[in-house]
């Protein structure tokens, strides 16, 4: 891909066991700077374990994860993680939620205020800045979380089925929003989903995982230009191809 350039994320021999249960089996891969990588796999194949190990929420049993050439550490590297569950803080206003990561990273108040205002504008929540999460809808909540994740201008953004619980219409809208943000910020994205259509719609590359114990089956390049049309012939063909890979064994 980008030849001699150092990979953004480098995973070497990553293995995770819970007791005797082997969940991640010797994973090796690289992610380039600015890449949008979708990770798909059968349900229960350990996708979440994979991301959680990647961010040190879980301690890997063996192997190494390097971000910019140094072992991953959320205190040193600028990482954002968007979880499957709704994770906006109910005790903070929408704006305070968006500013939260900036506060932890000790960004000066004025700068944080500006970044938060900008993000709120992008996700269309400026009018709701002083509302509390209990006062807004579920789709807005997920946009709050996305704004919070992008506000810190992360070098690595991890997303674990962020739209899994939303209806299809809303999902398309938020996916487009995400692509716009990605093109704008050039951040590296690892996006986990069980929805193959979503993976083909978003990803530059699609990593297919096997059943437990999880290993990498293959990584497919997605040649389709943005924005993609889910009804187009080449889109459907690629989607079918990925589907075959998942259920093939």
């Amino acid at each position: 891909m980008q030849g001699k350039k150092e990979a953004k994320v480098k995973v070497q021999n990553l293995t995770k066991k819970f007791g005797d249960l082997l969940v991640l089996d010797d994973l090796n891969f690289e992610v380039q700077d600015g890449e949008f990588l979708c990770i798909v796999g059968p349900t229960g194949c350990g996708k979440t374990t994979f991301l959680n190990t990647l961010t040190k929420l879980y301690v890997p049993t063996a192997g190494e994860i390097l971000v910019n050439g140094i072992p991953v550490d959320p205190k040193k590297q600028n990482i954002s993680y968007i979880f499957q569950e709704y994770s906006a803080y109910p005790w903070l206003t929408i704006k305070e939620n968006v500013k939260w990561g900036l506060k932890i990273k000790k960004v000066p108040e004025k700068e944080a205020e500006e970044s938060a205002a900008e993000m709120l504008d992008i996700v269309g929540l400026t009018k709701f800045a002083d509302y509390y999460p209990s006062q807004i809808s579920v789709s807005m909540l997920q946009r709050v979380v996305i704004a919070r994740a992008f506000a810190t201008k992360p070098e690595l953004l991890l997303m674990d089925e962020p739209y899994g619980q939303l209806d299809i219409d809303l999902r398309f809208r938020l996916e487009d929003e995400l692509l716009k943000l990605w093109e704008r910020t050039k951040t590296t994205v690892l996006f986990i989903t069980h929805n193959i259509e979503e993976a083909v719609y978003l990803g530059q590359n699609i990593m297919v995982l096997t059943n437990k114990p999880t290993s990498i089956k293959t990584v497919i390049q997605n040649p389709l230009p943005l924005p993609r049309d889910v009804m187009a012939q080449d889109f459907v063909e690629l989607r079918e191809h990925v589907t075959e890979l998942i259920k093939w064994w």
Binding site: N52, T55, K56, L57, D73, P74, K75, K76, I79, S80, Y81, F83, E85, S87, Y89, P90, W91, L92, T93, W100, G101, I104, K105, Y132, P133, S134, Q135, R148, T152, L158
Partner: protein, 261 residues
């Protein structure tokens, strides 16, 4: 607008139910004379006694105001100390496993003992002044706040902590900026429960060991068959308890800006 209307409607129902209650009471006593006044005094006697007790220290030696002040002093000092120590204790017990292992066994023994059972011990330790009663109330208030702040912290959503961790928050930041704010509703509930406990324990303590206070007034009046004073005391206890609970509810609303979660 709609909720306000609803609120007024409920207020009206409450007022009517209280009025009906008092009317039935009056009917049974003064109205039809079914119950003798030395068994249950009529509502107008109570009102009369209440007004009289505002300025008359007889027969037990203190005006209503003096008794109420004494009771509040004991209750609030014990309660204040209880929540000031209980909330942090519950929080650190829930957050730091080592502290939990150290404190938990002692706490589990103490929590099951009702506050009233401490009265004899405290009286022999500290006499029948303010200190012994405040200590009894302190224990009951502290137990309630420890339990609630402990469970509040323990119920912090894992995903909320994960968000903090992936942003690189320190353990202290995770505690102060995620766990504690997310436990606040339960902590506030703990303060309310503790207040109820403090107030009931207080009256029990004053019945047993005291020289003034509402509980003492009731106890003395009972001895000379002045049931009207007893009932005045009960009403004052009820009203004061309700007023204090209302005060905490106001504080709760101010603290929990994001609503209940």
């Amino acid at each position: 607008m709609k909720t306000k209307k609803k609120f007024n409607k409920y207020m009206l129902i409450s007022v009517i139910s209280i009025a009906v209650g008092i009317f039935v009471w009056w009917l049974l006593t003064a109205g039809l004379g079914l119950v003798k006044s030395n068994i249950l005094p009529s509502p107008d006697t109570i009102v009369h006694t209440f007004i009289k007790k505002l300025y008359d220290p007889n027969p037990e030696g203190g005006t209503l105001f003096v008794h109420l002040l004494a009771s509040l002093q004991v209750a609030l000092s014990g309660y204040g100390l209880g929540i000031v120590l209980g909330i942090p204790l519950g929080i650190i017990m829930a957050w730091y496993p080592r502290i939990e292992m150290t404190v938990r066994p002692v706490f589990d023994l103490v929590r099951t003992v009702p506050g009233v059972a401490w009265i004899p011990v405290m009286v022999s330790l500290a006499g029948i002044g303010l200190l012994s009663k405040a200590l009894v109330i302190f224990i009951s208030a502290m137990v309630a706040t420890v339990i609630n702040s402990y469970s509040g912290i323990k119920q912090t959503k894992e995903v909320h902590l994960w968000v903090g961790q992936t942003f690189g928050a320190s353990n202290w930041e995770l505690l102060t900026q995620i766990a504690i704010p997310s436990a606040l509703p339960m902590i506030m509930t703990g303060c309310k429960i503790a207040l109820g406990q403090a107030w009931t324990t207080l009256v029990a303590a004053e019945l047993l060991a005291s020289t003034k206070g509402i509980g003492y007034m009731i106890q003395q009046a009972r001895g000379i068959f002045r049931l009207d004073i007893v009932i005045v005391g009960m009403i004052v206890i009820g009203l004061t308890g309700a007023a204090l609970t209302g005060l905490i509810t106001l504080i709760e609303k101010a603290v929990l800006k994001g609503g209940k979660y």
